[in-house]
Point group: C2
Chain length 346, copies 2
């Protein structure tokens, strides 16, 4: 493909707006439009002259959405279906709310348009679940690909580094999840620790949609904070190793940063660092692993990591576009381009 | 000992006021007094006519404390040292702030008075660390005993049940700690998950002060809630077992209650239950294990438990008094008395 890939993002929420922004920053992609169904404050803000999607064409995801957006006085170019029918889109990145992506798929299939789904959808919505480091090559030319959730993506980054170097025999993950995102004020525990009723929580099985051979178990709770998830991990690996080897494995992994918990003793201090970096929306695309919370004892590896739930999946979506449209066959080259465009530290 | 045991509680904070209250409820003990160093709102409230320690004699823990309490117009009977010199106290329960107990010990030793210390003190402050279920008999006649912290006490209750029935080969515990107690408003993370910089956290080693043979590791974080701690546990045991067997092991353990997380999906809902029971200060002396969050797979046992940090150590302190003064040589008889007096469910 010589010309730029024509990408549309359907659903401009927490994830969709970030992906649309990231697509705009790629030299081999063009954001041909965004689509949504309602005139939310977010949608209005990002399309304002000061908004980071200003000038992007807005489409309605469906007929009702068209009425909603028109009624609110927003400038709507037309309906998504018409755009797809006209062959104006190479790939849709679907960031609609959980479960809606699977419904939208019928539309994409009808017009033979490729699509990327997010972690809120079940794994079987797509041909494969994607992580740039683990299975970029497998996604080359695929039509339907799913990028797993933030927690899963964070776990895959660290677990794949350990598994590649030491082979994981068994892993247990306790997830301490942020309850809601910063803008959500109507739900979530206020002064409580809420239990995830799934045993295991969906995270360990979801990691296995990418790292298929791993023997993992996870349990999760939600806590009253909005900034980040934290994972507490205990791994048994097949060969004895050392702190230095494990630290090196993490430091060699792209999109993983190691920090000292002595210097960054809470998730909020890490977030402050990325506000000071002037990252747009303080997005942390990198997985943070705390080097002074890593413990290695023979075949046991324990560590603690932080996942910025709003942002970590953004680079994976960009790489998935490149793989599915075969814009770039070499995964490291795609990762390099994505990392540079987003200012990812390593 | 035919007459009632004469008990004094030194330090009327979160833990001390509860223990003093519990001592008043024992038919074989007499609360001869409480001691403190400052006219805190808590101290004043519990001694008011409506307070649950109304009528209890107040002593000053030291000379400066005597001045402080006098100056505030509180009725002080005298100094703790004079009381100890006169042989008026059989045992002091020291609930002074972390580290102060070790300093106070010199005073208790000087007058040959037995003492119980709390989990904030290092294990070597006492001859042994105590848990009624595990080592009551070992405490018979001892002079200095330490009751480990709330987290440790909760872990000991569930781990001892599993170890007794299935033998623990290895255990990993992820602790999700409440940041502060309800009345503390000046510290703790507000919107963050704070890392415990100790690797392992002190909890696994502290459990081993009582369950000495266990192979355990723990990591901890603090979250913005005041109601309870939550522990996420992964155990490898020596023989294959089943969900039913594990549930039975927990249900057979005293001071452990199993609830459904479907019915009680957050720590706050459990606390609400005990408010509805009209427990004084909604104290939950029992360890809560969520039966629908238990997972058993061969030799692997995973579960999630809730610890009410303010109250769980209270019954252990009462039993420690009985053991150290040999008021009761049979541990189950002491546990029964304590449970009945406090309304502990089982």
């Amino acid at each position: 493909m010589k010309t730029k890939a024509r990408v549309l993002v359907n659903g401009i929420g927490t994830v969709g707006k970030r992906i649309a922004h990231a697509i705009k920053l790629q030299s081999d992609m063009e954001l041909v439009g965004i689509a949504d169904v309602a005139p939310t404050p977010t949608l209005k803000t990002v399309l304002e002259p000061k908004g980071f999607l200003y000038g992007t064409r807005l489409y309605a995801s469906n007929d009702q959405g068209y009425e909603n957006l028109k009624k609110a006085g927003m400038w709507v170019e037309g309906k998504l279906e018409d755009l797809l029918r006209n062959g104006a889109v190479d790939i849709v990145i679907d960031a609609a709310p959980e479960g809606i992506g699977a419904l939208n798929k019928q539309l994409y299939q009808k017009y033979g348009v490729k699509a990327i789904f997010q972690g809120g959808e079940k794994a079987d919505v797509a041909e494969m679940s994607f992580n740039a480091i683990v299975n970029y090559e497998e996604a080359l030319g695929k039509n339907y690909v799913r990028v797993p959730s933030c927690n899963t993506t964070g776990l895959i980054r660290s677990l794949s580094a350990i598994d590649f170097n030491f082979e994981i025999e068994y892993g247990f993950i306790a997830l301490v999840r942020r309850s809601v995102d910063p803008h959500e004020y109507k739900k979530g525990p206020i002064n409580a620790i809420e239990f995830d009723l799934h045993v295991p929580s969906h995270h360990a099985p979801d990691v296995k949609t990418v790292l298929k051979h791993l023997n993992l178990f996870s349990l999760a709770v939600k806590v009253p904070t909005t900034l980040s998830h934290v994972h507490i991990v205990d791994l048994l690996v097949k060969r004895e190793t050392s702190y230095e080897e494990v630290l090196k494995a993490f430091e060699n992994q792209t999109r993983v940063i190691t920090l000292s918990a002595k210097e960054y003793p809470a998730t909020s201090v890490v977030i402050e660092k990325f506000r000071d970096y002037l990252r747009p929306r303080y997005d942390v695309y990198e997985l943070i692993i705390f080097k002074d919370l890593i413990n290695v004892d023979g075949k046991r590896i324990r560590y603690v990591q932080q996942v910025h739930q709003e942002a970590i999946i953004v680079p994976e979506n960009v790489d998935a576009v490149r793989a599915m449209l075969e814009l770039e066959k070499n995964k490291w080259e795609s990762i390099r381009k994505t990392n540079e465009s987003l200012g990812i530290i390593k």
